[in-house]
């Protein structure tokens, strides 16, 4: 009986090991396949593919820079708006809200996360974009119009609108993770601080300090979602591969370019250029995640007994 049990343990261990290796294998396989399927555009453009600005399917001239720019800037705008809001919501939920309020709010936040992104996109086109175009952007422009960031005619679609939609989409995930992390952090320190006469704000600050590695993780998760988001962004960003200083101008992201153009990419090199865009997106998310892990690892090691969320 015991021997059989041990054998079963061994077999089980082997099987799980196989699964674990399969994940690694899958990642490698994906990279290899994408590299193979983008060989033509590699051969033609080489590394310059990354900084070329032209995207002309008719003349078969391709470059990724406008898409990288669009992905990066829209995600950064999303983060700039989402992170303070999310942390604020988390602090409220963990530190201040009575249970009767925190439960429904947490529930609502999680509900937001479950809405399919195409619904956000529809709402973006029909509600948000006209609202921004008619009331918000003209006001921003009259106040800060001298900055190159806010020049041009805002028609409601562009980097800024995409960033705002993204911020709404990533608030739930950042809030949910940040809340969990703050709840997981030991209560003894802030309570001790309160007992010593610290203000509520000072105690809250201790919680944020202790949870910061986890909060960083939450932000990175949000960034990951923002950079890979496709449908909602493509519906509001204006889908124009250009690099323009103004946030009101249309732009394009890597993910939405692939979704838009893949079905009718008839020529071989066109398809290869799109796959290469995919490869770039893959590498970017990979690097971001690796960086986040390093960051979290560094912070937790430094703290010793920090958040383990």
């Amino acid at each position: 009986m015991k021997r059989r049990g041990r054998l079963a343990d061994q077999v089980f261990k082997l099987i799980t090991l196989l699964f674990a290796l399969a994940i690694a294998g899958l990642v490698v396989l994906m990279i290899v396949e994408m590299a193979r399927d983008s060989s033509l555009s590699f051969e033609k453009f080489g590394a310059s593919f990354i900084w070329r600005e032209v995207w002309d399917p008719v003349r078969e001239e391709f470059g990724a820079l406008p898409f990288i720019y669009g992905s990066a800037v829209s995600s950064i705008i999303g983060l700039i708006i989402a992170v303070p809001v999310s942390i604020g919501v988390s602090v409220f939920l963990v530190e201040h809200a009575p249970r009767s309020l925190s439960t429904p709010i947490s529930f609502l936040v999680q509900l937001l996360a479950a809405i399919p992104s195409v619904v956000y996109g529809l709402w973006g086109i029909f509600v948000l974009a006209p609202l921004l175009r008619d009331t918000v952007y003209p006001r921003i422009q009259s106040a800060f119009g001298f900055l190159p960031l806010f020049k041009g005619t805002p028609n409601g679609l562009g980097l800024m609108t995409a960033g705002i939609i993204l911020s709404i989409m990533i608030i739930p995930i950042v809030t949910a993770v940040a809340t969990d992390v703050m709840r997981a952090v030991s209560r003894t320190q802030p309570e001790a601080a309160l007992a010593l006469g610290a203000t509520k704000w000072e105690a809250t600050w201790i919680v944020i300090q202790n949870a910061r590695s986890g909060i960083t993780g939450a932000v990175i998760l949000g960034l990951g979602r923002a950079i890979g988001e496709t449908m909602a962004v493509t519906m509001v960003i204006g889908n124009r591969p250009q690099i323009s200083a103004s946030l009101f101008d249309p732009s394009f992201t890597i993910a939405s370019a692939i979704a838009n153009e893949f079905t009718e990419a008839t020529s071989e090199i066109y398809r290869h250029a799109l796959v290469e865009l995919g490869l770039i997106l893959f590498v970017i998310t990979f690097v971001i995640n690796a960086f986040a892990r390093l960051l979290v690892w560094g912070v937790t090691r430094g703290e010793g007994k920090g958040a383990h969320a």
Binding site: V54, W55, D56, P57, V58, R59, I125, F126, A129, P130, R133, T153, N155, G156, L157, T234, M235, G238, N239, R240, P241, P250, F252, S256, A259, N260, E261, T263, E264, A265, T266
Partner: protein
């Protein structure tokens, strides 16, 4: 062990059931698979279900994945027929595994739709104005190039917001093909294709995306399939054709464009009818094609396909107008008949037998 045997038994049962269901279909059933253009998908689906009622043993499966995908799949023989709005290029035909025939089925048109608050009259656009707007050279609605053809219309001084497709599409091909023919600058700067490097404007995904965007954005202009403008009650412009008259996009003027072009139709029926000459012809129109191999590998499938195609260009055409597709002119039906009759299986014609 007892606990484990139950799910396995259920699994076996399920497997047996699935296998049985697969082998259970009668051997006389013919299944035709197709893939391609999205634009004719509604009428194709209608044809399939109507034809299936009289031929219950024949099942169709058409994936509307886009013309590009349709060409790719028929070239590799992974489907029995493909669908494409633009005719195949010479290179693609050479790369295919056998000779491919183009059977025109119905006609479609791109209309130029716009959102001009306060303008109730229908706009008239000259080719020069259209090219200028989409090139970004004409920036305001009250530009003389637009105003000269629209005497009496109070055009606003506001900036034009150009909306185009962001996804690759046959609609874009037809539109840019037209622009390339009427404007040397367009031809040289941009060219024709399913997706191009647009010199101006915003991209929206799909006909519905452009429709929605134009509807949402004051002072915008875009191009969509006729049916989308019609269903969304958007206004659309009359366009000056090569005969010098303003043609309003309608099923009759689209068929007129095809009839005008039919005389110049080459032997393989691959033709672009944008900027067609002929009285009343609307200039931004195109055929949509079904692509089939001339020599069919499977006798039963080939016969069923040829018979269906014959039915489609005769009985099927009657259903076109209800769904806002322009039917083929009779000259083109005759040319297509000859093509369908030339379909063979191992050298033997399938229709005549």
């Amino acid at each position: 062990m007892i606990n484990h045997s139950k799910p396995i038994a259920i699994l076996l049962l399920v497997c047996a059931f699935v296998l049985n269901a697969c082998s259970g279909s009668t051997s006389s059933e013919v299944r035709l698979q197709g893939a391609g253009a999205t634009f004719p998908n509604p009428i194709y689906q209608k044809w399939f279900s109507a034809y299936n009622q009289s031929h219950p043993n024949l099942k169709f499966d058409y994936q509307s994945i886009g013309s590009g995908g349709g060409i790719k799949q028929i070239s590799e023989r992974t489907v029995d027929f493909g669908g494409s709005d633009a005719p195949m290029k010479d290179d693609d035909l050479k790369a295919a595994k056998g000779e491919i025939l183009h059977i025109p089925t119905v006609l479609g048109a791109d209309v130029i739709t716009y959102n001009l608050p306060g303008v109730a009259t229908e706009l008239k656009l000259t080719p020069e104005a259209i090219a200028g707007i989409f090139l970004g050279n004409i920036k305001h609605w009250n530009d003389p190039q637009i105003a000269s053809a629209n005497a009496g219309v109070n055009l606003p001084a506001s900036e034009i917001v150009v909306v185009h497709r962001s996804d690759g599409s046959g609609t874009t091909f037809v539109f840019t093909d037209y622009l390339s023919k009427i404007s040397a600058e367009w031809q040289q700067k941009v060219g024709a294709g399913t997706s191009v490097n647009w010199p101006a404007g915003l991209g929206a995904k799909g006909n519905e995306g452009v429709t929605g965007q134009v509807k949402q954005t004051p002072n915008s202009i875009g191009y969509v399939e006729l049916i989308y403008a019609e269903q969304n009650k958007l206004p659309y412009a009359s366009v000056k054709n090569s005969a010098g008259e303003f043609a309003r996009p309608a099923l009759d003027s689209i068929t007129a464009a095809a009839a005008g072009a039919a005389t110049q139709m080459p032997d393989d029926l691959r033709i672009s009818i944008t900027n067609a000459s002929g009285a009343g012809a609307y200039p931004i129109a195109s055929f949509t094609y079904l692509l089939v191999y001339k020599d069919q590998q499977d006798q039963a499938k080939g016969k069923a396909l040829a018979d269906f195609l014959w039915w489609a260009i005769h009985d099927g055409e009657q259903m076109a107008k209800d769904l806002l597709y322009a039917p083929l002119p009779s000259e083109v039906v005759k040319r297509a008949e000859a093509k369908i009759n030339s379909i063979t299986n191992q050298g033997k014609p399938l229709r005549a037998s």
